[in-house]
Amino acid sequence: MNPDNKKTESLFMSAYDQYNDAIFRYCLFQVSNREQALDLTQDTFTKTWEYLARGGTIDNVKAFLYKIATNAIIDYRRKKKSSSLDALTDEGYDAPEENKVDHESQSDGEIVRRTLNELDEKYRDVLTMKYINELSVKEIAQSLGESENNVSVRIHRGIAKMKELLEQKELLG
């Protein structure tokens, strides 16, 4: 094997070891499904490798991985939209017991996570990246392909909307 190729493989697996949990967490907060989050995480790394194998170059591995993960999540949401659980529920579908939420036993943290999922995607993405994955505004901007100023505004508005939702649920006061 070409030494350069071997080196690339080694660097890639190091990136996996470093960021696999962060990507998994990001995916989990976005889709709220562990199995799906695992699949999305694996897809993120395999797609990144395909890009490298075709001769692509990556300057910022962390931002690149989040970008791939974001795109994978968007694809997942599109597919899910056609067979939305909410739509099935409206039609009389009863979710399995294990997926039902016992609000009384929920911690404040769990309620905030679920509230986060009630936000528009554009706010949820930036808030998850910033507060769960601790990405900088610059890294979020690189991952989403947006300007840093745009990301900052989106974070600010996202926080305001989330606060509004939580006040409605009387968690803040």
Partner: protein, 297 residues
């Protein structure tokens, strides 16, 4: 808001404790390693190729070759299409001024072949008028264009004949004779057949001369011109070859040809008859007898 942000950071800190289990992580790592081994890096690093100093030249030559082929194909197509054109068509000037002269330089390599080629073309010009008439397309504009084409072709033929007058006088005379006959035939045709009332009316209103009259006049003038040239040539040939003197007063034209039978073949006899016929035609046209006489001592 700041308190809420702090709360978010706290929630985030709690969230960051969410991880894959050891087994999930190792299974995923194994899957990814397997994927990497099955999908090795396939690209090769691009190296700067050694550029030939002639690369641009060949590139230019290639481009020019394409342009050349395109021009040839385009020109060939136009030339081919123009061959079917008739007087008044868009491609007709290309046919008469470009295609036919170029073809002549290729197919007619000797002076005799040149005469033969130009002779064929003048028949072609006459045939075009016939075709226009058959298709009922012979209006004033097309007639004038056809006449000009005939006049030009006649000049070309005269030039070709002139070039062989010394080297091949017999062919020159025969060609003149054949062409004269052909003109005569077409003149008769137009005299005997009506060109159509509409065409006549149109031409009269535009130029006060009908196409038929214009054409006939043109043919007669051309005929007379050819005949005069022919007579001059005969006079010169007879003088040079048979040491015959041309003097005044006049003698009958028939006597001239009877005396010089060895020098002039049967075609010249026909030519003489045409001369007489043309003389009569000119008398009809002008209403007087020409004072020109060819006399032989």
């Amino acid at each position: 808001m700041e308190d809420f942000e702090t709360q978010l950071h706290t929630i985030g800190k709690m969230g960051r404790e969410v991880k894959m289990t050891e087994s999930e992580s190792s299974l995923m790592r194994s899957n990814i390693e397997d994927f990497v081994s099955k999908n090795p890096i396939s690209y090769t690093k691009k190296t700067n190729p050694i550029v030939s100093p002639y690369a641009n030249i060949f590139g230019f030559a290639k481009a020019m070759a394409f342009v050349f082929v395109g021009v040839i194909l385009g020109t060939t197509g136009i030339a081919s299409a123009s061959l079917q054109s008739l007087p008044g068509d868009i491609l007709y000037p290309i046919k008469t001024s470009v295609v036919e002269p170029i073809t002549g330089t290729v197919v007619a390599t000797s002076l005799e072949q040149k005469v033969s080629y130009e002779e064929k073309l003048i028949y072609k010009r006459l045939a075009e008028i016939e075709e226009l008439k058959e298709k009922e397309m012979l209006d004033t504009k097309r007639t004038l264009i056809a006449q000009k084409a005939i006049a030009r072709q006649s000049d070309r033929l005269d030039l070709a004949i002139h070039s062989i007058e010394k080297s091949n006088a017999v062919l020159a005379i025969k060609t003149n004779e054949k062409v004269s006959n052909e003109f005569k035939r077409h003149e008769d045709m137009f005299e005997n057949k009506d060109m159509g009332a509409a065409t006549m009316m149109m031409s009269l209103s535009i130029e006060e001369v009908s196409p038929k009259e214009a054409y006939t006049k043109n043919i007669i003038e051309e005929e007379i011109k050819i005949r005069r040239e022919l007579l001059d040539e005969k006079r010169r040939l007879l003088h040079e070859i048979n040491d015959v003197q041309i003097t005044e007063p006049a003698m009958d034209t028939g006597e001239l040809f009877e005396k010089e039978q060895d020098a002039i073949d049967n075609s010249e006899e026909n030519t003489r008859e045409q001369l007489e016929g043309n003389e009569a035609l000119r008398i009809r046209k002008n209403g007087s007898i020409s004072n020109e006489r060819l006399i032989l001592d």
